[in-house]
């Protein structure tokens, strides 16, 4: 989208046509567009298949809330103990079978030089 105040632009488009980000599976579908240039139908079908749900369920918050908690891939509300930030992204990379640059960086840091 583009320029506009928060209520008039991201919130209005989000309510009218947005997938719902980490409330639902919006970030997961976006990941497949970025990682493999998938068109929207292909990206939704791919993620739905990985999650073993229907395409329609991807943007249903009642379905996706439970799935995100079960898979520990991050939820939108603040829940102690749930995967946050890079922790959730590392699990999403595994779930979708893609490389996420910041996760790859974390892996390199974890296997970096030691003084042993």
């Amino acid at each position: 989208m583009g320029v506009g105040d928060p209520y008039g632009m991201p919130i209005a488009h989000g309510v009218a046509a947005g997938m719902g980000g980490i409330r639902t599976a919006g970030d997961l579908v976006a990941r497949m567009q970025l990682a493999q240039k998938m068109r929207i139908s292909e990206a939704k079908a791919f993620v739905a298949d990985k999650l073993r749900i229907s395409v329609q369920d991807l943007s249903d918050v009642t379905v996706m809330r439970e799935i995100r908690e079960d898979l520990d891939i991050g939820v939108i509300t603040s829940v102690p103990g749930c995967a946050k930030g890079i922790e959730a992204k590392a699990r999403i990379a595994d779930l979708l079978g893609i490389k996420i640059n910041s996760v790859e960086r974390l892996k390199r840091k974890l296997s970096g030089p030691t003084r042993d």
Binding site: M1, G2, V3, G4, D5, P6, Y7, G8, M9, P10, I11, A12, H13, G14, V15, A16, A17, G18, M19, G20, G21, I22, R23, T24, G26, D27, V29, A30, R31, Q33, L34, A35, K37, M38, R39, I40, A43, V55, Q56, L58, S59, D60, I73, G74, I76, K84, G85, I86, A88, K89, I92, K99, I100, N101, S102, E104, R105
Partner: protein, 354 residues
């Protein structure tokens, strides 16, 4: 007497129109796009769909369940912490906080980090600062993060940059000098954009967004295409190319990319070059005419974008900020217009995202 419906003009104010008048505006807008772009106009069922949208009394409309699309966010957090020049609401949040607000309060599918100047050139001397902010954002957020900025070739011309200004040279009939300045600016801009984006990739960045590409004309577009090409060869960055306008201005006039002249291209031709350069997402723009109704403007925008979607093999995230993509030119866009434009772009143009 025929019933009248409230329809906004391109500047946002309401007028009243009958259903026949709305339909006539829809047809006229679509045929204007078809004529300029040498593309097909909408068909009768699509005019019927748009007419239903404009005569629907609901304040906000939406796509059917299951038809939702991915949202990408040009301008990033500037809409929260920026001034009204960017429709910003002046909340003193850090950019990290702004991104978290979008992810967790606005349910954004993706989000974008950007410098307040929002051009690639000024980021170069402060790249270490931007890398640090991006590192913190990437640690604490889940959605894909873009870094967005404008190619903005204008910054390479006098008085801001080292080369002569084509806008000064052309009125003096110094055509060759104006062209040479643009060719030199392309070289410098490519170097700057590749340098900055590579540094962002190095610290873990997901993606970059070349926003308002082509704002300074065909040289601006050419620089971006070459930067995309180089970055796709040397990094794993996902790249979105979003345009500044519906038509590439021929400020140079002779520039080409892979044998195609850039001046005069409309979205359905622009996307083919963006795809050839290697980009992952294309953001077409169709400008809003303030003296025409939103029925005329939305039908026109959807006609152009539908042709672009059909010509593309990569995801299309249409630009739908104020003044483009069937939204009025008003800095706090009316949500009735924005939601109708959203629905039309998804249901008729079949976009992959907004």
């Amino acid at each position: 007497m025929a019933e009248k419906y409230p329809v906004r003009m391109g500047d946002g104010h309401f007028v009243e129109m009958t259903a026949d008048e709305i339909r006539a505006h829809l047809i006229e807008g679509s045929e204007d796009a078809a004529d300029r772009g040498k593309i097909a106009p909408l068909d009768d069922s699509e005019y019927d769909f748009l007419l239903d949208l404009f005569t629907n009394p609901a304040r906000v409309v939406g796509v059917p369940q299951g038809h939702e699309v991915v949202l990408t966010h040009d301008i990033g957090t500037l809409r929260l912490d920026g001034d009204q020049g960017n429709s910003g609401v002046g909340i003193p949040l850090s950019r990290l906080q702004g991104i978290q607000v979008h992810e967790r309060a606005f349910a954004a599918d993706t989000m974008e980090l950007g410098h307040v100047d929002y051009s690639w050139k000024p980021v170069k001397p402060i790249i270490a600062q931007e890398q640090q902010v991006l590192e913190n954002v990437l640690l604490s957020t889940i959605v894909p993060i873009f870094y967005g900025a404008m190619p903005n070739l204008g910054l390479y011309y006098a008085p801001d940059g080292p080369f002569g200004n084509p806008s000064d040279l052309l009125p003096m009939a110094k055509i060759d000098e104006a062209r040479e300045a643009q060719e030199l600016a392309v070289e410098h801009a490519v170097r700057d954009m590749v340098y900055v984006a590579t540094k962002l990739w190095d610290v873990g960045g997901d993606a970059i967004n070349f926003d308002t590409t082509g704002a300074a004309g065909d040289a601006d577009f050419k620089a971006t295409l070459h930067a995309v090409e180089q970055l796709k060869d040397s990094t794993g960055l996902a790249i979105e190319v979003g345009m500044a306008g519906e038509f590439i201005l021929g400020m140079h006039g002779k520039l080409e990319y892979e044998g195609t002249r850039l001046a005069g291209l409309f979205p359905h031709d622009q996307v083919k070059l963006v795809e050839k350069a290697g980009a992952d997402i294309f953001g077409p723009v169709v400008n809003t005419n303030t003296s025409r109704s939103m029925a005329w403007n939305l039908a026109r925008a959807v006609t152009f974008v539908k042709a672009c979607v059909e010509a593309s093999n990569i995801p299309i995230h249409v630009n739908m900020g104020m003044g483009v993509g069937g939204s009025p030119v008003f800095e706090t866009p009316p949500i009735d217009s924005v939601s109708r434009a959203s629905v039309a772009m998804v249901e008729i143009a079949r976009v992959d995202g907004l």
